[in-house]
């Protein structure tokens, strides 16, 4: 494998290197740069597809396209990359959303060079996060992606951009400290020092150490995912960021946290996961209901969508806490599906903003008359978001529901409570999304709005971008195997791994942690589980 062409390295480095040329491009009116950036994005996306098409075997649960080079041997940092079923769909999602985001920023006129430079850097860093197999490298990539986001929000954002950007960077930087400290602690645990994720996963940690590490990672990724109550950076950042950046923020960056939760917390710390899973389920359900309720109270279009993102990411948490293949598969699918849906909705919100120059929904109204295409696309996006059958959101959310309901790790009342809370969240999602459509599009035109702006319908470019996102949404919804086959083998393996430790650990008398960590309901039937396992 090592003699092979280093595809993944190419994928990471290509946008980064290409972005270095941007300052030297001859460009007077900011038009060459955007074509150049779009070209790079498209090439990268084509490369991603080509790489996976040619060199990736579906149905193989192991790592593929493995590359391993010593980078800085003194500190044990290796440039080690690989993809498996978990990262591959997310890399494709990254390619699609980022490329479309570059296309969506066609109208950026303020300092376009810097803008596209940052976008391309971010492109690299995102892919790096998903393919890094070295914890330190993962951390570096994670950090590398923060800086462009900060600058993009702080420079091209809305009125409160400074506040939002600072909040974003503070939150995520503090969270990153937890990643770094935990990574170091894990690396130096035991006899060998290593940052390699697989080797770290093999290490035999003591349970209390594992629990501590798990908690640290959970805080770090909980900020990013986000989980209530660590979420308040998100509505500010998403609503202040320019539309293309919001697309990437909601479409890809949140998924990094979900990915990392599965990759690090579950795969490497599966013993601790058994104890934390009920907490995750509760946090997930609380996030779903809380964020849905809060979303309904928002009058700012993008803030409403931002809270809806929080709610939808709650399903990821519920899914990964289910201890079933189906739940985990639903969680991964929810990440992919929400990536597409959130990108669509944020993009369309940007389209509306371009016309109206406001994001306050009560200042819009009756826009369907002048903008029927945008209205249709918005409706389609909302329907996908509220989990209508035939759209990808439905498949992922029902997988999470079914996966959690069929889980044998929880007592029935607990399952009923979580599933009902999540269902309330789904009902609320249709309430706030329909009310959004109603206030923005239905009814009489807002006389004041049309008096000072012209509402032109979607340009072909805009319709194209939205359709590029909607077609996969419907495709996955109608025939879910399109997406599930890319990661099935992997999620089965991960679920098997956590299920293996489930009965063993449930028996261990860890009263202290049981009392403090697992509040009450979970792992109730440990005796039955043990007997079932025997």
């Amino acid at each position: 494998m090592t003699t092979q062409f280093p595809w993944l390295t190419t994928l990471i480095l290509f946008p980064l290197l290409a972005s270095l040329a941007i300052p030297f491009l001859p460009d007077k009116y900011g038009k060459t740069v955007r074509s150049y950036a779009l070209g790079v994005g498209l090439t990268e996306f084509t490369l991603i597809i080509y790489t996976f098409w040619k060199h990736y075997t579906l149905g193989d649960s192991g790592f593929q396209l493995v590359e391993n080079y010593a980078w800085i041997p003194q500190i044990g940092l290796n440039w080690s990359l690989a993809v498996d079923g978990l990262s591959m769909p997310l890399v494709i999602l990254t390619g699609l959303v980022t490329t479309l985001a570059i296309f969506a920023s066609w109208k950026i006129t303020y300092r376009p060079r810097l803008f596209y430079f940052l976008m391309l850097t971010m492109y690299s860093a995102q892919i790096g996060v998903f393919v890094a197999q070295d914890l330190l490298l993962f951390f570096l990539m994670w950090e590398l992606e923060l800086v462009p986001v900060y600058l993009l929000i702080a420079t091209w954002g809305g009125q409160r951009r400074q506040y939002a950007a600072t909040k974003f960077i503070l939150y995520t930087a503090i969270a990153s400290v937890f990643i770094l400290v935990a990574a170091l602690a894990m690396a130096f645990y035991g006899d060998t020092v290593t940052f390699n994720m697989q080797e770290l996963g093999m290490k035999d940690y003591s349970l209390s150490f594992e629990l501590l590490m798990y908690a640290a990672f959970l805080i770090a990724f909980g900020v990013k995912l986000p989980i209530f109550p660590l979420h308040t950076w998100l509505p500010d950042a998403h609503s202040e960021a320019p539309a293309p950046v919001s697309m990437i923020l909601a479409g890809v960056l949140l998924k990094m946290a979900g990915y990392a939760l599965i990759r690090i917390n579950i795969e490497m710390l599966s013993n601790a996961h058994v104890y934390f899973a009920p907490v995750l389920a509760v946090l997930g359900a609380v996030s779903v209901v809380y964020a849905s309720l809060t979303a309904f109270a928002q009058t700012n279009l993008k803030r409403r969508l931002a809270y809806s993102s929080i709610a939808h990411m709650g399903f990821v948490l519920i899914g990964i806490s289910a201890f079933t293949e189906l739940g985990l598969s639903g969680a991964v699918l929810q990440m992919v599906s929400h990536g597409l849906i959130a990108a669509t909705l944020f993009f369309l919100a940007g389209v509306a903003y371009d016309r109206t120059h406001t994001l306050m929904m009560d200042e819009m109204g009756g826009m369907a008359k002048q903008m029927p295409t945008v209205f249709a696309l918005f409706t389609a996006g909302s329907m996908a978001s509220l989990a209508l059958p035939g759209m990808s959101g439905f498949v992922s959310e029902i997988s999470v529901f079914l996966g959690f309901a069929t889980s044998d790790a929880y007592s029935t009342p607990f399952k009923v409570a979580i599933v009902s809370l999540a269902a309330i969240g789904v009902i609320l999602s249709s309430i706030y999304l329909l009310s959004m459509l109603r206030t923005v599009f239905y009814g009489e035109e807002n006389a004041e709005l049309v008096s000072h702006v012209t509402l032109t319908d979607a340009q072909p470019r805009e319709a194209f971008i939205a359709l590029c996102l909607l077609i996969p949404i419907i495709g996955i919804g109608v025939y879910p195997k399109l997406a599930t086959q890319t990661y099935d083998a992997k999620t089965v393996e991960v679920a098997a791994q956590v299920r293996q430790v489930l009965p063993v650990l449930a028996e261990q008398p860890l009263d202290q942690f049981k009392r403090s960590v697992i509040a009450s309901p979970a792992i109730g039937d440990s005796k039955n589980l043990i007997s079932a396992a025997n």
Partner: protein, 626 residues
């Protein structure tokens, strides 16, 4: 040939979907030159194909045993979801009815929507409507039925919201979606529960499973109620009924389908679920109570309406209540029969209504009158539809009601009261509408009222003939098992109730000098009825209020507590930094002193905490050793 036909049964729903897709170039404005007519023609062509295919299929499966067609859908490990199609006499018969009515409604729409600029979009939506409905009747999988019910919810939302710039449409579309969605999601909870306890979601399997299932009463009751909720929403039963009359803001051709077959789809799923519902006595009781309440309540509400479409749509709820009662009595055949004949009659009534609305440009009953001589075809259609709706002449509903009554007489005689009330009140209501619309003196809007064009008249007359032929169809397809020896007493009661209803209606609304009985009824009562028992208000003060309050609270909490804490930390650090800068004196001995005190304090704190915590840490470490 037969094999081929039943293997291709999934084509029947596919036609509608294809129709919907091929209208896209017109509905999104890619093709402008031709106008949107070709899209409509293509859609109608697809429906014709679906009708032909399903008729052939019906002929093929008539004597054949039911056959299942499995399509793998979600192949997740631990759970396989199949989309199962069942081709049996009943299911294929259902598709024939649906495609036929859809065809008639679409031809009708060609005339009705002639001048609408978004004709293509309308036909596309009708295609989805038709596809979802044929899918539901063919489906043998609860999962697939659930998904298709949701698609129906969506297409209802889009069809009701078709004229999205109208003020009333705004709330109507939303209410239609939300009430149905609540029902659907409760149904989904039932589906999720069933999938974890029953193993498979195929109706055939579920029926077998239910015979031997041992569930605790709590689980069985919750499950039953959840499964019930979906059909309650879809069939516009109390308390999820408020959408149907608001949905009348949508275009009329869609209302034809909505009041006949779409509501029927919910009942169809209910019938398929009946074995599982039977596990829970509470669910069956709820079913009966809701059905009875809706049947009588909606009949009363219908009488108080002055919107012609609403007056008829409430009676749809009432008839579906009767269907619910039939399911509650475990009389599936009667329920199906009633669905069929009611669908035929109601579709005809709505076609007639559509003609009236198009010609007079109003839906207000008080603005009409004297149309009988001006629109003969429409009038005849209305009369036939009305007669077919009530138990008077041996037309469709008469037969079904007799069957219903015989079943009820055995199980629970008090249900006869419900039937008599619904029949009498409906008869009264239909005569009332007839009197206001067709009888009396013409008013401003009905003075110049020519009969509608042939595009609308032909489907109307066709359906009228079908209604007249309904008894023969039923006879031919042997759908009347007990017809040879009807219980004469029950038949007599039924006819009497119709006669009383008609007579009262005629006395009040057909005589030239109307007795002012309307004024005699207390205003509050009339208002309560006209306002659908203030159902809207009830929701306003319960669900809507709770959601609003909850969201305000959550938003407040988010803004001032969660985010407030964050901002407080930020402000506090800035403030402390700003304050501390005034302590800078520039004298190095002060710095030294500060440093010294700081180090001393930290050492004290650290050593003290370590001292306090070390036993805990120690024991932790010990414990952690394997």
């Amino acid at each position: 040939m037969i094999e081929l036909l039943s293997q291709t049964s999934w084509w029947v729903p596919a036609y509608g979907l294809v129709g919907a897709v091929i209208t896209l170039p017109w509905s999104i404005g890619l093709v402008r030159r031709t106008g949107s007519r070709p899209a409509a023609y293509l859609n109608i062509l697809m429906t014709v194909l679906a009708l032909i295919h399903s008729s052939l299929l019906l002929w093929a499966v008539w004597d054949a045993p039911p056959e299942r067609l499995l399509i793998p859908w979600l192949h997740a490990p631990g759970l396989d979801i199949w989309l199962t199609l069942l081709t049996s006499r009943i299911s294929v018969g259902g598709t024939v009815i649906i495609t036929a009515l859809s065809l008639l409604a679409q031809v009708f729409a060609l005339g009705y929507m002639e001048k609408d600029w978004a004709l293509a979009r309308f036909f596309g939506l009708m295609g989805i409507f038709e596809a979802a409905m044929s899918g539901i009747v063919l489906s043998d999988s609860l999962f697939m039925s659930y998904a298709l019910l949701e698609v129906l919810t969506l297409s209802t939302y889009l069809l009701v919201g078709f004229w999205y710039a109208q003020p009333l449409v705004v709330t109507a579309a939303r209410d239609a979606f939300l009430t149905k969605r609540v029902g659907d999601l409760l149904l989904l909870m039932g589906v999720v529960t069933l999938s974890s306890i029953a193993g498979s979601l195929d109706f055939t399997h579920l029926a077998l499973w239910a015979q031997t299932a041992q569930l605790s009463p709590l689980v069985a009751n919750l499950l039953g109620l959840a499964l019930l909720a979906g059909p309650v929403g879809k069939c516009a039963q109390f308390p999820l009924n408020l959408w149907l009359d608001e949905a009348m803001e949508g275009p009329n051709p869609a209302s034809i389908l909505r009041n006949s077959v779409v509501v029927g789809c919910g009942a169809y799923v209910l019938i398929a679920l009946q074995p599982v519902l039977a596990l829970s006595p509470l669910a069956l009781t709820t079913l009966t109570v809701l059905g009875a309440l809706t049947a009588i309540g909606a009949s009363l509400v219908a009488i108080a309406q002055i919107d012609i479409k609403r007056a008829l749509s409430h009676s749809t709820s009432a008839y579906l209540g009767l269907v619910f009662l039939a399911v509650g009595m475990q009389q599936d055949e009667v329920a199906l029969l009633l669905l069929f004949v009611h669908g035929l009659a109601k579709a005809l009534l709505f076609m007639s209504t559509g003609s009236i609305i198009l010609t007079t440009s109003t839906q207000d009953l008080t603005e009409m009158g004297g149309l009988a001589s001006r629109m003969p075809a429409t009038t005849t259609a209305y009369i036939v539809g009305a007669l077919a709706s009530i138990g008077l002449l041996p037309l469709g509903n008469f037969m079904a009601m007799v069957e219903w009554a015989e079943a009820a007489w055995v199980v629970a005689p008090w249900l006869m009261g419900v039937l008599v009330a619904v029949n009498g009140l409906t008869a009264f209501n239909l005569v009332r509408v007839f009197g206001l619309v067709f009888w009396g003196k013409p008013q401003a809007k009905t003075r110049r009222a020519p009969e509608v064009g042939w595009l609308m008249a032909v489907p109307m007359i066709t359906l009228m003939i079908f209604n007249l032929l309904a008894p023969f169809i039923l006879e031919k397809f042997q759908m009347l098992p007990n017809w040879n020896d009807p219980n004469r007493g029950l038949v007599l009661v039924l006819i009497c109730s119709s006669l009383v209803g008609c007579g009262l209606g005629a006395w009040l609304y057909l005589s030239p000098e109307k007795p002012k009985l309307v004024g005699a009824i207390a205003t509050p009562l009339r208002e309560v009825l006209a306002d659908d028992f203030k159902m809207n208000r009830l929701y306003q003060f319960s669900v809507v209020f709770a959601v609003l309050l909850g969201s305000r609270l959550a938003a407040w909490f988010d803004r001032y507590i969660v985010d407030g804490l964050v901002n407080f930390v930020g402000v506090a650090s800035i403030f402390s930094g700003e304050t501390l800068k005034y302590t800078i004196s520039g004298q190095s001995r002060h710095y030294l002193l500060t440093l010294f005190i700081g180090i001393l304090l930290s050492i004290t704190v650290l050593s003290w905490t370590l001292w306090e915590w070390s036993p805990t840490l120690h024991s932790l470490a010990l414990r952690a050793q394997p």
